[in-house]
């Protein structure tokens, strides 16, 4: 037992020495979290602004000009083209020069007064979901109130929405917690798979296999440094998220680290499993990407979980990132504890045990 521990330690020390000299991996450990955090934190914003648009005003009345000015002020649309006939719209839309076009018919005033036909038409580039959603929002604006400001104070909205946990609707608040999981998935799975396959690819394994070192000792020894690296990355994202985007940790920090640790173990086990299935470092990389994509798409990190079809939801339940995203969002944003989230933690633990068992069964004790 002590001898086995000593052999494992020998591998860990060796791995740390190699890591210290591997500048690229070193840079990736720090670089990937920082880059992803800035990218996702700043760039991803679903509040659409400044869509290029055209306006066809055939009415030329006081009200129509007022309306265009009001819409322009909302900053959703930039009216870059003023057209005289609607025929030019198709060409501009197809070329991608505009995302939307507002058509004000010549009988605008009459339609407005009678209310028998919609007084306005908004032509939208439907190939972009986000544009379509923005257009629908604009279409739901009460037109009469816009044109008669005096009435604006009158009837309030039927349902008032109260946003708990994220009242300012900050995108970073939703993104940063899940990002911890995305970064850990990306780096942990790939690093472990590559580190283990490298030993085989470079021929080190052929020597090691004739020593008393067992494959399990080798694997655990090699993987241990990555647990520490994973926790360092978690800390890095938390600190940067707090400093740059003011993302809070409302729950217990200990719970958060325990959840991260279980998730790191799950990811490492997945990496070990990949390493037993592939032959080269390149294949290991491909395998890691293959695992990474469904996780990032289905976990609820990018797209709302409830919007996915049932089949995709079932698949997502089998992925560790899904459970981790729920855990971190719960702990960080809602101040939840393991009492509330024990099911997610159990699922994550179950996955780790399963992946490790599979990997152990697939270990190759010989070269054939």
């Amino acid at each position: 037992m002590i001898a086995s521990f000593s052999r494992m330690l020998a591998v860990t020390v060796k791995e740390l020495r190699q890591l210290r000299r591997d500048r690229l991996t070193y840079a990736m450990i720090v670089g990937i979290p920082v880059m992803q955090l800035l990218l996702f934190g700043y760039a991803i914003n679903l509040d659409v602004r400044h869509l290029p648009a055209a306006v066809v005003d055939q009415a030329h009345t006081h009200n129509s000009r007022e309306l265009v000015a009001d819409l322009a002020q909302s900053q959703v649309f930039d009216f870059r083209y003023r057209l005289t006939t609607p025929t030019a719209i198709t060409g501009l839309l197809r070329a991608g020069d505009i995302s939307a076009a507002l058509v004000i018919p010549a009988d605008f005033e009459r339609r407005l007064a009678l209310g028998d036909k919609p007084p306005l038409q908004l032509v939208v580039d439907g190939s972009d979901q986000v544009v379509q959603a923005a257009a629908r929002q604009v279409a739901s604006l009460p037109l009469h109130r816009m044109l008669t400001p005096a009435a604006a104070a009158s009837p309030p909205s039927a349902i008032s929405v109260v946003s708990y946990y994220n009242p300012e609707r900050e995108a970073a608040l939703n993104t940063v917690p899940g990002l911890i999981g995305v970064i850990l998935t990306m780096t942990m799975v790939m690093f472990t798979a590559i580190a283990l396959v490298r030993e085989r690819e470079r021929g080190n394994l052929e020597f090691l296999i004739t020593t008393p070192l067992s494959p399990l000792e080798l694997t655990i020894g090699k993987v241990l440094p990555f647990v520490v690296i994973g926790l360092v990355q978690t800390t890095l994202v938390l600190l940067l998220g707090y400093w740059i985007f003011s993302v809070p940790v409302r729950g217990s920090l200990l719970d958060l680290y325990v959840a991260s640790l279980v998730f790191i173990v799950a990811s490492l086990a997945l990496g070990v499993l990949i390493s037993t299935l592939v032959k080269s470092q390149f294949q290991a990389m491909q395998g890691a990407v293959f695992i990474f994509l469904p996780q990032i798409l289905l976990s609820g990190f990018m797209f709302p979980f409830n919007g996915m079809p049932k089949l995709a939801q079932w698949l997502a339940e089998a992925l560790p990132l899904t459970h981790f995203v729920r855990l971190v969002r719960g702990i960080m944003l809602r101040g939840a504890g393991f009492g509330d989230l024990w099911l997610e933690l159990a699922a994550l633990a179950l996955f780790s045990v399963g992946a490790m068992t599979l990997a152990t069964l697939r270990f190759r004790k010989r070269l054939d």
């Binding site: 001898a3 000593s6 052999r7 330690l9 020998a10 591998v11 020390v13 060796k14 020495r17 190699q18 000299r21 591997d22 470079r202 021929g203 080190n204 394994l205 052929e206 020597f207 090691l208 296999i209 004739t210 020593t211 008393p212 070192l213 010989r366 070269l367 054939d368």
Partner: protein, 312 residues
Amino acid sequence: MPAADIAIMTHGLTRRFGTLTAVDHLDLSVRRGEVYGFLGPNGCGKSTTIRMLCGLLLPSEGSIRVLGLDVPRQAEALKRRIGYMTQKFSLYDDLSVAENLAFVAQVYGFRSVAARARIAALMDIYRLGELRRQMAGTMSGGQKQRLALAAAVLNEPELLFLDEPTSAVDPQSRREFWDSLFALADAGTTLLVSTHYMDEAERCHRLAILERGRMMVEGSPAALMNALPGRVLQVECDAPRQAQRALEGLAGVRSCAQIGASLRVLTDAEEALRRIEQALTDAGIDARIAPATPNLEDVFVAATGAPAGKAA
């Protein structure tokens, strides 16, 4: 021979990869303290055999006993008592000499004091002291080989396997390397060396020539060479290339190779001499024919039927 004197014993050892038979019913017996050589071209089954003997590969058929242990069943126990120097450098390029040896020592369960003493002794024997801080990846072929040997014997193995140990080093380093091997043999270590170099094979106590997984001949180099009396002829003439053409394909001529300005001819039997004289006269070539002392290359060609040039 008493069982205690035998280091390696196999019966009908066979290994197949799909339809290819890499090792074909090999019966080996290697004595303790012996330097035993495997000579053969690439792909003759040398590495596969060594891997099976270490317990790295499962045999398809046959039995193996190494140091009194049943392999592969007792391979784990065997691992502590053998050393293995792989064909390709298998230590870590991005670790220094000292770090590599420290790692190997710890894997073999040396305590730190004992490890330091053993590593210091090895660095002294294999002249690695000045290189201790150098990264293994930046060393020359000869230096890497000394490091690999130091790592392979760190646990003082009773039996050391060396798979083409000198394929990446210059002749000077090769000579020094063999001095180290004989020092180990003198200390009682059994060595099994695979090679495709004739000069290296000639240094072994005993030798097996392998071809396509089968053992063609076995014995001490001297005995093998003496088994070819009068069958090697030296043909001196002005036009060796013409003479070679005249002799190739002649009944009784096994091989015919140009060495400098003369021809070295290996025959099936002594009687071939007269037929060769006749053939050269018929071709109008004036030649002097004399018997030559057989060397290991002749043994190799006689055993395998292949020109040794294709083996190297």
